[in-house]
Symmetry: C2
Subunit: 232 residues, 2 copies
């Protein structure tokens, strides 16, 4: 009976979700290294070996968490972007920057899982890639659309990218379509600055140095916007 098979499958899907939820909560309190199948099973009220009906190994569970986290971040970023008038490119950039930072502050361990030190012994499979690039695509489109709206006013004189970088520019153009190499690398630089800041803030590098972090971040991202040629 298809209906009953679906019933069993529904339970299965629900329990799978419950496992990842518990795992995510453990991740949030213990960090990636502290994620333990046995602890998850304990909290589920199951015996530890039962987890293996749902995930083939600890790494598989970790991969599921990583993909979920990338998607959560990606969705937040997409919504932040979508909430802005299309032609307000600076506003969109700032909204995206703050979305990344806010999400990271709300989910520090998940952020660390995505952008911190690699988990030792864990090798991310290819399946994470589509989820991993959602935020990058959002930024890319802001820049690309700004360029085509002639709204990019490339800032002060700076050296053009050396020709040897042309191949890499081609690869990145998948994310920032139809723009010259110079825009590509300004975008990459801006992008690294976002995560560089957020990582510094989250991993403690700003302790005893910068207190009004939201304001400072906002200002820093405006400087980066100017570097990229984004003006209101």
């Amino acid at each position: 009976m298809t209906a009953s098979r679906t019933a069993r499958e529904r339970v299965r899907a629900e329990l799978t979700r419950e496992i990842t939820d518990i795992a995510r909560r453990q991740l949030a309190t213990e960090g990636a290294g502290g994620l333990s199948l046995r602890a998850v099973a304990r909290e589920m009220g199951m015996v530890s070996s039962a987890i293996y009906r749902y995930f083939a190994s600890r790494d598989d569970l970790l991969t599921a968490l990583i993909i979920d986290a990338y998607n959560a971040l990606g969705e937040t970023v997409e919504q932040a972007d979508a909430g802005c008038p299309r032609e307000d490119f600076l506003g969109r950039w700032l909204a995206v920057c703050h979305a990344v930072r806010d999400w990271a502050l709300a989910h520090p361990h998940e952020y660390a899982l995505l952008y911190g030190s690699p988990v030792p012994g864990y090798q991310a499979p290819q399946d994470t890639i589509p989820a991993a690039v959602r935020d990058t695509i959002v930024l890319g489109h802001i820049l690309s659309e700004a360029h085509h709206a002639a709204a990019l006013t490339p800032a002060q004189p700076a050296p053009p990218p050396p020709p040897s970088l042309h191949a890499d520019a081609d690869t990145v153009r998948a994310f920032i379509p139809d723009v010259p190499d110079d825009v590509i690398f300004r975008g990459v630089t801006g992008w690294t600055a976002v995560y560089g800041w957020v990582s510094f803030e989250l991993f403690g590098q700003f302790n005893n140095a910068i207190e009004d972090r939201r304001t400072a971040f906002d200002h820093s991202m405006r400087l980066m916007a100017a570097m990229m040629g984004l003006a209101r």
Copy 2:
């Protein structure tokens, strides 16, 4: 006898060094989480409890490693800066950037220990601070000296830092002495971009995207130099 006491102490200092050396090597292969007192003891040919004659706990050993790593990085950066003509501010900036990146690539796990996700359960004591800020001080002095040599040509128009950031600017001025707030926050932004890039590169975010990383990094840091107003 002072001489013989010194003899014992010399052995002690040597063994302490040997322990940290072995621990550093293990860190390099296993990562911070894989650092184990028992493994260190095994490699020393000692029983595990003997380590406690030299370090009160695993965390103490970790702290020693962190301080050593900060000092190693700091020294590299200082030397890179010192190798440049004093008035070549752009050259000094680029030298420092590459020194950070080169060191990180040569010591990925140590870099991760300093700038990656915090080690769960480990709380860095205050003793690490002097070592931790050596590189920051180098950058600060480049900017400060450039400013006083009137060699900073603040790039394109960008909003000034909001007044509410003045207190934070005062704190950071310990590293970038006697410069206006605007220079401070351009410096902080530049600094985060350096580590943002290096972390992206080291932690795998550039995989399948950017191949000629040294060149791209160099270009990116030149863009940041222009943002900060550093020109040759």
